[in-house]
Symmetry: C2
Subunit: 428 residues, 2 copies
């Protein structure tokens, strides 16, 4: 490496512009910290003529990110375009093949092609880093890969989609319906072009799949994740859960169990007094549990120009300092293929249902649950709302298949109106 580390930046959206600003503003600081001048050689984006609020005049322009990736005056290629195929993938591969280190903020690309890209990077002896792809400015990949390297990781959890947490927070605090909160977030520009990436849990699922790979030494297995978005979360459930001391979060959980690797991104209840329960708005949180460290909680902005660029520049500094770790913390060839868990870990569940006004209705429900191995820890019955009475049940710890069997048995009791709601209570 020369004394100067030269960047090529593909993608000049929020993150790319943020990186340009930091590199320009903090030149002296970055040099003092890394021992290298960090400069920008060339940039690329879809549109050249656009005022991005930064001066790009000193940098060469490339229309084609693949051409940018191969330039002789680029040491580190920054893939800040996004998308799990097309130019992002082509340019990343081209950069790695050309022997360039790569820093990416692209969770979708890594979640779908992480194994192949890691193998390529490691064969080439270059770095492929992606701190910005997970939980924005929070140095979670670094913490997991390096700071906690002495731990057998037992569980990783996280609220990693700020838009979903914003919507749930607004429903909770302002009493909005899901649709109202969704529309508000949309109006504020918080949603991806395809909103299902956010509210369907896909974006957060990509992030969790990457963390799971690092945590457990397994190949990224996004397709094995159980994904459930927040579209079915109702204001009723948010209020009722609140009555019982819980908040509803779109919570990602990855853990290695005797039944295989469990990966879930689903709405869960968490105690309102827990760090996860106290997380409001667009902030992200990742909880890491290891056999030595017990529990570490990391909290910070999950998106935005400054925080995401901070993570990209942190990766650049690592490369400048000569740190070239295996992409997922251990050599790609040694990552195992974990069988997906055939059932999620036992948990307590929150059940909400409407009982028709018949004598003995509650007893019938309790019997149907009990016959399927579900016992009741707490129960709360609300006043009749016309003909039906809302009932909340918190179960003792139960296996999900038993719960599903119990729920399937409820219609036959003839006392439950409509479909019951069942939400997992994560033990955090």
């Amino acid at each position: 490496m020369t004394d100067t580390l030269r960047l090529g930046i593909a993608g000049l959206g929020t993150v790319g512009v943020g990186v340009v600003k930091i590199v320009q503003r903090q030149a002296a600081l970055l040099s003092a910290r890394t021992g290298h001048e960090i400069t920008i050689s060339a940039v690329s984006a879809r549109t050249r003529d656009k005022d991005r609020g930064v001066n790009l005049a000193a940098y060469a322009w490339e229309d084609d990110p693949v051409a940018l990736a191969k330039r002789d005056d680029v040491d580190v290629f920054l893939e800040l375009m996004g998308g799990d195929e097309g130019p992002a993938k082509d340019a990343t591969e081209a950069a790695l093949k050309a022997g360039k280190d790569v820093v990416s903020a692209n969770k979708a690309l890594l979640a779908h092609h992480g194994q192949a890209l890691a193998e390529l990077a490691e064969a080439q002896g270059v770095a492929l880093r992606f701190e910005a792809a997970v939980a924005g400015g929070i140095p979670v990949i670094k913490s997991l890969t390096e700071g906690l390297a002495g731990n057998r990781i037992t569980r990783v959890m996280g609220v990693m989609n700020g838009t979903c947490n914003y919507i749930l927070t607004r429903m909770d605090e302002a009493g909005l319906s899901y649709q109202e909160a969704f529309d508000e977030a949309d109006g504020l520009g918080y949603l991806e072009a395809d909103p299902n990436l956010d509210v369907g849990g896909i974006d957060a699922g990509h992030k969790l799949a990457l963390l799971a790979s690092i945590a457990f030494g397994t190949k990224v297995a996004f397709d094995d994740m159980r994904l459930e978005g927040i579209g079915a979360v109702s204001i009723d459930d948010i209020r009722r859960a609140g009555d019982l001391g819980y908040k509803i979060k779109l919570l990602g959980v990855a853990q290695m169990t005797g039944r295989g690797l469990e990966q879930r991104m689903t709405p869960c209840l968490v105690p309102e007094t827990s760090p996860l329960g106290q997380l409001v708005g667009g902030t992200n949180m990742v909880v890491i549990e290891g056999d030595a460290v017990e529990q570490i909680v990391l909290r910070g902005p999950g998106a935005g120009e400054g925080p995401t660029a901070s993570a990209v520049v942190g990766d650049i500094c690592d490369i400048a300092r000569g740190l070239r770790l295996p992409v997922f913390g251990q050599p790609a060839g040694s990552l195992t293929t974990a069988p997906p868990a055939n059932a999620e870990s036992p948990a307590c569940f929150y059940l909400r249902m409407e009982l028709v006004d018949k004598p003995g209705a509650l007893a019938k429900v309790a019997t149907a649950l009990g016959e399927n191995g579900i016992s009741i820890d707490r129960m709360r019955q609300y006043d009749h709302d016309g003909t039906n009475a809302p009932v909340l049940i918190i179960t003792h710890k139960a296996a999900r298949p038993d719960l599903d069997a119990a729920l399937a048995a409820l219609p036959a009791t003839g006392v439950v109106a409509g479909a019951p709601v069942a939400l997992r209570i994560e033990d955090v």
Copy 2:
């Protein structure tokens, strides 16, 4: 480096034994993650014949940690003895001079001799790492030095002494007096042999001084820190602060200001709804603010065998992977000597005083405060307790010298009984 990284461990207390356990238990994992076998060559402690619950038979024994530090079969010397002089210092210096990498958990040694040790390590081209010295298992030094390297850090805050936070939590939750809570912590073995290291804020101050150096690129300046322990915090103040929505924490704050480097370790009020306000018991929390990343909050166990050993092993893994950064994040020779701030940043203050039962007493207090530039934001008067009435005042943002002048003017009003309590409200 050979394929094997060989450790010499000086100190077999809680941390040392924890490290031995991890190295023994996780041999395969550490090898997969670092590409090196990590083994223990030799150990040293004050007493040889003691059952420590681990099998040390395979390791050479040294009575003298300095001899251990120089052994040919030691690549990395672990200084886990403690103490800011004597064997810890001698052995650390000997190891560095012998060209060994060093991992230390010794905050006192680093706070007092960090600059000289860093210069020595860097001249020798070896690593001196101390993640375990600050906030136990939380990878805070790594986050600050590496993950957030693209940021100009604006403020670092932390609750970094679990014993103090335990005492304050017990006073708050169980209504204990300071002495009762202190005795309880003592009975549980939470206190250092010299309790003033904990409750006087010295231990936490050492940690803050190390973080400040890394954050601001300045030489460690522990002697410039304003230190105030928790011995004067009363149950009255904890209750009254709670009435107003605040918790009292022993809070460390370091920030670079136009008036110089501000370093404080003092009891402060923080909003009870903030992450710092919600921190109970022995858990630690560090808050890092940077110009790009905004705010990151790291939370985890600040002490204990597993968490502290986790941090030590994280440092060992970094060394095994070839990471040898400057000790304080940039070369020791480039660290500046920051002038200590001549006054702390303006803040709102919590004032508690007892007013004698005279007409116009409150007006006289308000006048005395106002004449010194202190204006009142909120005030709460309690019922007379015999002859005196407790009064709480939350001031608008004020300069500390103005506040001190105002407090000095209160006796002359003739309406204030005893000495008022003044506590800073940190804007977190």
